[in-house]
Structures are given as C-alpha cells and as structure tokens.
C-alpha cells in the first residue's frame, strides 16, 4: 500500500511550542490569574515609585489615622510635608499603604522561593526514588516522616534555634512541601520507566543519567509547573500565618502577615490595618490558584480530569 513509498504523505505539522503558548493565552483562567499576578509583581518591584514612604518609619504624631486622613511627617532634611494616608496608619504611625506595597515583595519572594526549592528538591529525590528501587523504600519512609512535621511547629522550633529571618521561614515552609512533590515525581517516573521507549533506550546502551535526563525528566515538566504554582500560593498563605503568629519574618519587615498582626489589637476600632493587607493576600492567592488551574487544564489534561 501507500505506506511503502518514499513520498507517503506524512502527517501535518507537530504541535509547536508557539501553538502551546497560544493555547495557554486563550485560557481565561490563565489570563485572569496571570494579569492579577503581574499587577502584584509590578507593585512589589515598583514599590519606591508608587508614592510610598519608608514603610518602617515610625511617626508618633500620626498614629492610627483612618484611611484618607491627612498627616504631617518630617523628611530626612527636616522639612515638614503633608501626606494623605491612603490606607491609614498603624499604631506606630507607619503608613499602611507603603507597608502593604512593600509587603508584596516579601510575600512573592517567599512564595516563589518555596515553590522553586521544593520542586527542585522534589524532582531530585523523586527521580531517585522512582528509578532506583533500592532507594525507594528508604526515601519514601523519610518522606512519610517529613510529612508528619507541621510547618508551624517547625517554624517555631527554627526561630527559637536560629534568628528569625526570611530564610528561616522559607525553609520551615519548604520542608513539609517537599514530600508531596516527591510523591508526584515518583509516580510519574514509575509509570514512564515502563514505557517501551525507555526500555528501547536501555537496549541502545544509554547510560542511566542520560536516560533520566532525555527520556524521563521531560515528562515531569508540565506537572511540576502546575504543582509549583499551587505550592507558591500555599507558601504565601503560610508565610502570612506565621508572621501573624509572630514566628515568621521579623516584625520590622513589612509583610502582609505582620501588618495584620500589628492591627489585631485595635481591629474593632481601626479595621483598615487588617482589611487592606487581607484583600491583597486573598486576591494574590486566588489569582495564583486560578492560574494553576488554568495551567493544569492546558498543560496536563489527564491530571485535570483526575483532580
């Protein structure tokens, strides 16, 4: 039949990366999530130029101003200038608007760092567990152990052992996230290693590191992107919780959790201390999660059906 000839029409062009990106951009969830996150990222990056003042500057004469109130502050040169407190000020007279805008930096940094570190660790450990059966039992029992550690207790322990800093928080949040990634990677590797094309590579004498890099790891990219976004969202939330409890980032650093913690005692009188950072936190996490859903639907349709 036609199959024999050299000029057999070969099927149409493959799915090009450009087509995949176009598909992503057509997904409303990806668009919405991406847009909100872009705004938050830009807010954090451009913080100094968004009409903010030093978020740590204490101003005793302008304590607990309601949103929209005017107050005076002294600049470094000793000039007295009039400001409008867009989101009000907190109990120490710090400008809540400036603190919320600068707080976006910390929240996003923590979220992205935790996502990157846990995906990197999870990939490495997961591939080892999935491909080398002897390591599997040992690694997975260690992971079971890690999963039993509550992030908050770990953070308390680490803060009391080391100085509280952004990195303490990142590590405390990352550790309990890693086992989840490891399990996901391991399950992918376990199914991919049975694929005939992996066996074919074995019969071609491909060395194990090359085999993993060429034939196994590419299968984990899409699920890792998806998993990474979800981890990012939950890390931002956990950071806020830790800071709110006073065991996260040091109190002078403005983070959404810290701002809310400051405002807790005076919440009934001056709710703006909690509402504004709360709205930012909620919007960011919602956007990241929606983005994650959209990515999953487009990149990993099989998973979308399952979850």
């Amino acid at each position: 039949m036609a199959d024999l000839s050299l000029d057999t029409p070969i099927a149409a062009a493959p799915v090009k990366p450009a087509a995949a990106i176009r598909k992503l951009l057509l997904n409303p969830a990806v668009l919405f999530g991406g847009a909100v996150i872009t705004v938050v990222v830009l807010t954090g990056l451009l913080a100094p130029w968004l009409g903010t003042i030093d978020p740590t500057a204490i101003n005793p004469i302008a304590r607990n101003k309601v949103p929209g109130a005017e107050f005076f502050m002294r600049t470094d040169t000793g000039e007295r200038i009039k400001m409008i407190a867009l989101f009000g000020t907190d109990g120490l007279g710090r400008d809540v608007y400036s603190r919320v805008v600068y707080g976006a930096r910390v929240s996003l940094f923590v979220g992205v760092s935790v996502a990157l570190i846990s995906v990197a660790c999870g990939l490495l450990i997961g591939v080892l567990a999935g491909f080398f059966r002897l390591l599997d039992a040992v690694i997975m029992r260690i992971m079971d152990g890690l999963m039993a550690i509550p992030a908050i207790l770990l953070a308390i322990a680490m803060v009391s052992l080391f100085r509280s800093s952004v990195w303490t928080v990142i590590i405390a949040i990352t550790v309990p996230q890693v086992p989840g990634v490891v399990r996901l990677v391991r399950s992918i590797v376990l199914s991919v290693r049975e694929e005939p094309y992996v066996e074919a590579a074995v019969t071609l004498g491909t060395s194990t590191p090359k085999l993993l890099w060429r034939h196994v790891l590419p299968n984990t990219i899409a699920p890792m992107i998806v998993q990474g976004t979800f981890i990012c969202a939950s890390a931002i939330l956990i950071e806020a919780i830790l800071s709110f409890l006073g065991i996260g980032v040091p109190p002078e650093v403005p983070t959404w959790g810290n701002i809310m913690a400051e405002g807790r005692q005076v919440f009934s009188l001056f709710p703006h201390n909690i509402i504004y950072p709360g709205v930012f936190l909620a919007m960011t996490i919602l956007a990241v999660n929606i983005l994650g859903d959209g990515l999953r639907d487009t990149l990993d349709p099989k998973m979308a059906k399952r979850v």
């Binding site: 039949m1 024999l4 099927a11 062009a13 493959p14 066996e199 019969t203 071609l204």
Partner: protein, 539 residues
C-alpha cells in the same frame, strides 16, 4: 427473507473539530437480518467501530454526530430518538459486547449483579427471579459452576469467562440485535475459538441478528454469513461471506485478502551459519519466599528454556499470553535479569553479567517492541532516536546522522524525514523507524517481541517483508516472538512452541506445521481461525 433487524441507510457521521477527515463514516448502507451474522471488516480508521457506536447511540457526544441517513431497528427509526428512549432500547432490543472484557466489567461489582443489572433496569422482576434468570443465562453461555461464579468478582475469572459474562449480560433479555465490537481480539487463540463458537450458538438460539466487527479475516471466515468491507469510512464491498472471501471484486478487498499470511509455510533451506544466540536451562522466577513472606507465591515465568539461533536464521517463539515467550526475549535482551541458566551471545555467557559489564553487549542485539506508538519518545525527533544508540557507542553526531539517513532509505522512508517527530508517522512507518533504530547499532541479533501484532494486516505484510529484507541484507539472526501462527509460518525457519514457561515443542517450521506432535501445539493449530482457508486475491 423477513424484514431486516437492522437497516442502516446512507449513514454519515460527522467529526467535529479538525480531524484528518470531516466524516468518520460517509454514506454507508448495510442491513442485518434475523438469524444472520454480518461481519464488518476493515483496518484501523475504517469507521467500523463508529458504525457500531452510531447504531447503539453511543457516539462520543462532543466529537461526532449523525449528519444524514437513517438507522432502523426492526423498522423503527433510531436517529431521531431521545436519549431516554434509546436507553430503554439498549439492553432490551439491541445490546453490545466490547473488545476488552477486562475493562468493560466493573471490577468492584459481582458478575452476577452485573448481568442482573440489565434485568433490574428493564424489567420488574423481584431479586429471586432475577437471580434465577441470571443463573439460567450463565448456564446458557457454558460458564462452569454458575452457582459459585455468580458471586465472583471479575478479577477472579479468566478473560474468556469474562467475555462469556459480557455475552450473557448482553443477551439476557434476548435482544433482536447483538453488536460485537472485536469481542475476541483481546483473547488468546484457543479462547477465541470457544467464544466464536459461543456467539454462533447463542445467535442461533433466539435467531438474533449479529453485527460483528473485526479486523481478522480468519474470524470472518469462521463466523460470517455476510461480509461488509470498509475503508476510510466508506463501504468498499459487501456480499455473502463465501463470495467476498473467494471472489473479491474490489482491488482493496483483494489487497487485504492477499495480505493475510498463509498457514502453509514456504520451503526453506536449513541455515548453517555460526550460532549467535544460545540459551541453556534458562529460568526466570518471580516472587521469593523470605523471612517475612514464607508463603509468597512463586511463579516460574520461564522454565528450563534452551534454544539457539544461527546467523541468518529466524527462530519463532509461539505461544499464548502468559506462556513466557516475552520473558525469554526480555531475559536475553536484559530488560529483566534471568534467575538462572546461561545466555550465550557469540559464546560469551551474559546471564551473570552486571549491567555495566553487559552494556558493551547491547550493540550486538537489538529489540523491536510491539507498540510502535509507545516505543519512540514523542518529544524527540526520529533522527535523534536513531542516532542515540550509535552515539552511546562513540560514533560522532555527524557520522551517526549520516547512518540514520542511510537507514531511513533502507526501511523505505525518506531520509529527510529524520527531522520529524514520531506522531507525524503512521503505525507502520513508526515500526520501520524502530527497525532503522535497531539496525543503526549494526547488531548480529534482532529480537522482535510481537513486532507486527499492533499493525493492520496490509501494513503487517509490508513490515514482515522489510524484516525479511534486512535479515538477508545484514545476515542477521532473528528471534521472533509472536502469538500469530500465520505470521510464524511465513517468517520463521524454526519454531519453538511455549506453554506456561516451558518449550513444549521445537522444530523446523515445515515439520511443526505439517505434523505437530505435542497436544498443546495441536490445540493451537485447531483453534487458529480460518485454518482451513487460504486467503488470496481472486484471479
């Protein structure tokens, strides 16, 4: 003849979105009379399954829809019926048996309940009567010990028994029409023979009309009263089975029939080259009794297998699923470690080698897998797949690429296609690429594990021809694993028949086919569908 049970007239099914063609089936007309078995035969993509789904009203909702034409069941139009009306008709007046008895049954429900479900939905029998009807039906399909089996779960039954359950569930309400979509394709040949016999028997019992979908002309010749040949969504030819099989009118039918390998092995000269592969007392055992599992089940997948293959010779290993034929191949290629025994490649015993020691041996033998869709990495180009092996053994990228282009020509594909991705090729083309990939290593031994089983019969014939061509050209030793006796007859110099891990009979193909000695071999031959028939295009 009375009015037909099923009458399909000028049916077109449109495919939504951009498929490779706008219609899955186009303008087909066929009918099934009472007490008649009509076989719809065609290769993959011919639209034969879509036809069955359209009749059952089971077309995938978002992908396909009936565009024009009518489907009449006992004179009643089905295409205009609502979902609820169709539901009432399915199971009572028409029923379907699927290909995969493993997945078509619910694994967490007792088989008796699954048959009884049909009665529960469509009748108002009380549970006691239902159970009685189910038992009667199970007896009718010759299931052993129905009283016991009615409470079994699907995994406790064999594939053939599961298919009997499916048939019982389909026929329990005596529908006028039974649609069977490749019901024996997933079964072993001996089980297939029994199920075909059962379909015939059940069909005659209530004069059911049967629409039987298959790709296997052997099955057609066993069971069909009439044959409908389909290609690319159209009907090419239809007529009485004898007429179509003996005197096909259309070129396509002739080509299909000519592609079916003959059961008569051609004359072959004995090969006397040097022995390339020899196994001696090869064992592969799964499961191990240990301190923690003193009663663990031990399975002898391969038991005491001794065989040898010479340069230029093809040895076939034939057997049913679970016979251990694949495990032998995988032990030799070291995809699994043999438990004991010797595997000698050019007189070097590799069985006890560690992976690192064994790696240099890998270039001497190459493996061709069954599933051409999964044996190429979808993310890498065909060229990269072919050069991977040679580059592992030190060839430079440019030399390897040159070799890849040469080999593409050897397997009759365009050398320029090395830049393409696997999904741009058809199944047969992919299997050619896999052969090129194997040849790129310049092996002495080629191991094919059912290399043509996933291919359509016309493509199968070409790939077999290609395999024979490269065997001659490169003077290869070939170990050919297959379940298909027709294929074995055509390509093998010698044959080893395996059953439950043991080689029960070994000899030249001509001898084994002319006078099988072992009981099991005889049973295998007896069960081969259409064994008494030679298929060839009419003069």
């Amino acid at each position: 003849m009375s009015a037909p049970v099923l009458e399909v007239a000028n049916l077109s099914v449109a495919i939504r979105g951009d498929g490779d063609r706008p219609h899955a089936v186009r303008g087909i007309s066929l009918s099934v009379g009472a007490n008649e078995i009509v076989c719809v035969v065609g290769e993959s993509g011919s639209g034969k399954s879509v036809t069955a789904q359209a009749v059952m009203g089971l077309l995938p909702k978002n992908a396909m829809s009936v565009e024009t034409g009518s489907i009449r069941l006992e004179g009643e139009e089905l295409t205009t019926k609502s979902d609820a009306d169709l539901r009432a008709i399915r199971g009572t007046r028409m029923a379907m048996v699927f290909q995969e008895p493993m997945t078509a049954l619910n694994p967490v429900e007792r088989v008796g309940d699954q048959i009884g479900e049909v009665l529960e939905v469509h009748t108002d029998l009380d549970p006691r009567e239902r159970r009685k009807r189910v038992l009667d039906m199970m007896r009718a399909v010759h299931l052993p010990d129905p009283e016991q089996m009615i409470d079994a779960y699907p995994h406790q039954l064999s594939g053939g028994q599961r298919q009997r359950i499916m048939i019982a569930a389909a026929l329990v309400l005596d529908p006028a029409l039974l649609i069977a979509d490749e019901p024996t394709t997933a079964l072993d040949v001996t089980t297939q023979a029994q199920i075909l016999k059962l379909v015939r028997e059940m069909q005659a019992r209530k004069k059911t009309g049967v629409l039987f979908i298959t790709h296997d002309f052997g099955v057609v010749s066993e069971i069909a009263d009439r044959v409908v040949v389909m290609q690319l969504g159209r009907i090419v030819e239809q007529g009485a089975a004898e007429d179509v099989l003996r005197n096909p009118r259309e070129e396509y039918t002739k080509m299909l029939l000519a592609s079916v390998p003959s059961m008569t092995p051609p004359k072959r000269v004995p090969v006397s080259g040097p022995v390339v592969l020899q196994t001696e007392k090869l064992f592969k055992t799964y499961g191990k009794r240990s301190l923690f599992q003193p009663k663990a089940r031990i399975v002898n997948a391969v038991k005491d297998v001794s065989l040898e293959v010479r340069r230029g010779e093809t040895l076939g290993i034939v057997g049913e699923s679970g016979s251990g034929k694949s495990t032998v191949a995988r032990c030799i290629a070291r995809l699994v470690d043999p438990t004991s025994g010797a595997v000698r490649i050019d007189n070097i015993d590799t069985a006890a080698m560690k992976e690192a020691q064994f790696r240099p041996m890998r270039r001497r033998m190459q493996f061709i897998f069954q599933d051409p869709y999964r044996s190429l990495n979808p993310r890498r180009t065909v060229g990269e797949a072919i050069i991977e092996g040679p580059m592992n053994f030190g060839l430079s990228r440019n030399e390897a690429l040159q070799r890849a282009r040469d080999l593409m020509a050897v397997v009759h594909l365009s050398p320029d296609a090395v830049d393409r991705y696997p999904h741009q090729f058809s199944g047969g083309q992919r299997q050619r690429i896999c052969i090129a990939r194997a040849l790129a290593m310049e092996p002495e031994l080629l191991i094919g594990d059912e290399p043509v089983s996933a291919l359509d019969v016309s493509v199968q014939a070409q790939v077999l021809k290609l395999l024979d061509e490269v065997r001659r050209r490169f003077n290869l030793a070939v170990l050919f694993i297959t379940h298909d006796l027709r294929v074995a007859a055509q390509v093998c110099d010698r044959i080893a028949v395996m059953q439950r891990g043991v080689i029960v009979e070994q000899g030249t193909t001509a001898d084994v086919f002319a006078a099988p000695k072992h009981e099991y071999t005889k049973a295998l031959f007896e069960a081969a569908p259409g064994r008494h028939r030679e298929f060839f295009a009419g003069a």
